[in-house]
Amino acid sequence: MDTMETGTISKKVEDFLQVFKKGEEFTQELLKENEKLRYRIVQLEGKTRFPDRVDSAQLKSMEERIGLLEKENRTLVDRYRQVEEENTDFASRYVEVETENNNLANLYVASHQLHSTLDFNESLKIILEIVMNLIGAEEFSIMMLDEKLNELSIMAQEGMGPEARGSIRIGHGIIGTAAKSGEAYYRKGDPADVSDVDFANPLVCIPLKIKEHVIGTIVIYKLLVQKSEFAAVDYELFSMLAGHAATALFSSKLYSESERKLTTIENFLELLKQR
């Protein structure tokens, strides 16, 4: 009995030992697996942390790029504003240059026409055209000085009534004073208001001068309906007329007189030859 029991026990012990050994092996395997899994977790954690580090680097780079672009954008906006200001400045300068160009064209045309003839009547006609078409006067006259009588009389006129035959003594009234002093007269106030304007009280009186010697005047009484005020170029034209119209009239008058004298002399010589 004891022997049988002992054998049974030792077998059970052996079985238990084997189970225990297997359990130990299994535990060992589990520990190994656990170790492997831990290692794997560490690896995975490393991997999951690494992309975060890449993103933050990229983010930093992108932030820097955005900063640069924003700076560039501000620079471009500033430059755009500068260019826009320059553009406005150029546009206004273009208008100024265009106006100046037009004014010079008017002055050139007027002076060119004034010196295009040696015929006295044609010179008068050209002055009338300049005053009418370039300045825009409706009623005006050109008066010439008779040095013997010491008075101004109308040589040509436009739009005037019976007073067009009148004459004015030098030194008398606005016209006579302007002719004596050589200073241009511009009536103060609105040029379109002609309620107080008459033959002796014009809007404008421009003495025609060769150096300081006055030979006549241009007298304006009324402007065209559409002309409400004098522009800068009108004063330039007045100034130009004061000198150039005077020389044009003076030289054409001299030329006409010399032509007449020449004809007389030629006729006289012809008569002498016939005798």
Binding site: N102, N106, V109, A110, E129, M132, I135, G136, Q226
Partner: protein, 126 residues
């Protein structure tokens, strides 16, 4: 293509002024001193693109010129721009009624002339 402009005006001063102002368009200018000469020039130059016409002229005035142009029919497509020294509204109105395409008032402002020319000759600006 170079444009051709007919100027009909009895004032040499106005002719020269127009030429100065129109210089930038590099166009050919044909001159006429009154309406009758203007009609002759139209016949000689049927390729005229624009007429700048004064109203008050001797021999044949601007209004008569427009009437004749419209009667002839051949040249009625050519735009006519009238100008009047006196600034009489009735003249301008009559001119437009007769068929003028536009007008400028004297004293002529180059800017007004540019505006009219650039409207009627859109391809003229070089």
């Amino acid at each position: 293509m170079i444009k051709k402009i007919l100027i009909v005006d009895d004032s040499a001063l106005i002719h020269q002024m127009y030429k100065m102002v129109l210089m930038r368009y590099k166009c050919t200018i044909v001159d006429a001193q009154n309406g009758r000469v203007g009609l002759e020039k139209l016949v000689q130059h049927p390729d005229i693109d624009l007429v700048l016409l004064d109203i008050n002229m001797p021999v044949m005035n601007g209004l008569e010129f427009i009437k004749k142009v419209k009667e002839l029919g051949t040249y009625e497509h050519i735009p006519i721009v009238i100008s009047s020294t006196e600034g009489k509204e009735e003249d301008t109105k009559r001119g437009i009624e007769l068929g003028a395409s536009g007008y400028v008032t004297k004293p002529i402002q180059p800017s007004d002339l540019h505006a009219v020319v650039e409207t009627l000759l859109p391809a003229s600006r070089q």
